[in-house]
């Protein structure tokens, strides 16, 4: 099946946060109790009960105050750090549409995915189980739009065939974020400004330590371990052990 993806056209967003509410409704997530921080942005971070949120980025353009609105969520990376490090097969998985879902029953609470993610997305709930945006894979699997996309009144959020969305996005003339990075993000942005203005990495990648750990140390380690066993066995049958010259036991005892 062709890969599906989100396209998030930031210039259309009015920060109504219908997406946040629709997500909570569909996924039966409770409200987080919060405090007033002097911003409409609320909560300040993704939480175990908040799979997507609008970030209110305050900037100044020609002396005028300006908001940049960014829909934060799991970006369903093509090369996903969370999948790379998850020890429990099936706790995190990729659907045939390319979305990354999770299965709390299989999650072992190791928190590795939190460290494997380049975008600081996965959160753990009170039972120490993973939560994050799963792209409403239950809705998508049944031919529906994700709840946030369905609820978005301005057309900021779109969901569909990834290729088509990219082709459409390129005609808009704005900066397309996430077409190639990490083998292509499953949630891309159309930005008016530079990625760093939205606190997005220019070239997001799997964290270096995580890459070295899983793609270098692990395969070399398996080789190293069996190599050591092989060398020991080879030594025993070629050079042989250092026998004791005067071993009385070998003479049949005293």
């Amino acid at each position: 099946m062709a890969r599906k993806a989100f396209m998030i056209d930031t210039s259309r967003c009015t920060a109504c946060r219908s997406c946040q509410v629709a997500c909570k409704q569909w996924n039966k997530l409770p409200a987080d109790s919060e405090i007033n921080r002097g911003s409409y942005e609320n909560p300040p971070q993704l939480t175990p009960h908040l799979y997507n949120k609008i970030e209110f980025i305050e900037t100044e353009v020609n002396g005028e105050f300006k908001w940049l609105f960014l829909n934060k969520r799991c970006l369903h990376c093509g090369e996903a750090g969370c999948l790379k490090v998850c020890p429990s097969t099936g706790a995190l998985f990729r659907t045939e549409e390319g979305l990354i879902g999770f299965d709390k029953d299989k999650c072992i609470g190791c928190n590795y995915c939190v460290n494997g993610c380049p975008f600081d997305v996965p959160r753990y709930d009170a039972d120490n189980k993973i939560t994050k945006c799963h792209g409403c894979l239950d809705r998508v699997g049944n031919g529906l739009q994700p709840a946030c996309v369905k609820a978005c009144p301005t057309g900021t959020l779109q969901f569909g065939a990834r290729d088509k969305l990219i082709a459409q996005g390129k005609t808009s003339g704005r900066k397309l974020y996430g077409e190639k990075a990490l083998s292509g993000l499953g949630a891309m942005y159309l930005l008016d400004n530079q990625p760093q203005d939205y606190k997005l990495a220019d070239n997001p990648s799997i964290p270096t330590s995580i890459f070295l750990w899983k793609d270098v140390i692990k395969p070399l380690g398996i080789l190293g371990f069996w190599g050591s066993v092989g060398v020991a066995m080879l030594h025993y049958v070629t050079v042989g052990p250092k026998q004791l010259d005067d071993d009385t036991e070998a003479k049949g005892g005293e």
Partner: protein, 204 residues
Amino acid sequence: MGRYVERFSAFDRVVHWTLAVAFLVLVISGLGLFAHTFFGYFSFFGGPEQGILAHKIAGVVFLIASLLLFFAHAKDSCSFDSDDAKWFAAFGGYLSKNEKEIPQGKFNAGQKLFALFSFVAALVLGVTGFIIWDPTAMARGMTQFSLMLHGLFFILIMMGAVVHIYLATIGNPGTVDGMLWGQVKKVWAKKHASKWFKEVAGED
């Protein structure tokens, strides 16, 4: 005059085998986190969450036992002399049959190196293990780096363990006796640790 000479005290033996059991528990409970192939090993502990708990407990035991064992022998393990240089140059005589033994103290140069390596590895695994105890508690970059180092030193200590077990058992017959019941044969001591044997037995 018996045929045996005392090599390891009861304290050494108990600490060594405590360390060995903790190591085994750590390997079995940790492999499930290392690779999908070994995920089933968690069932030895009743499940992944319990396996991770066992890993943490065994980790603390392993670190304490490693420190005790290292410091109990630090005086012997940390002093290298010219005979050790000769030992390293000859690869301990392990490269061919019937090589002449180089006079060595209580521990040969390779054993001293292994003692130092084990000490460093236990420290690194212990410190990184503490950092990843709760992988969300510390700074992200430090946790990621610790996960990597923990994996690296796991591999290194596994390779060290393979060599250690081989050389201390079938590779050098008579060696494991000292760690099992404390005594080794005098012929063993004369061959493998002649300087030490002279010291403790006053014989040549």
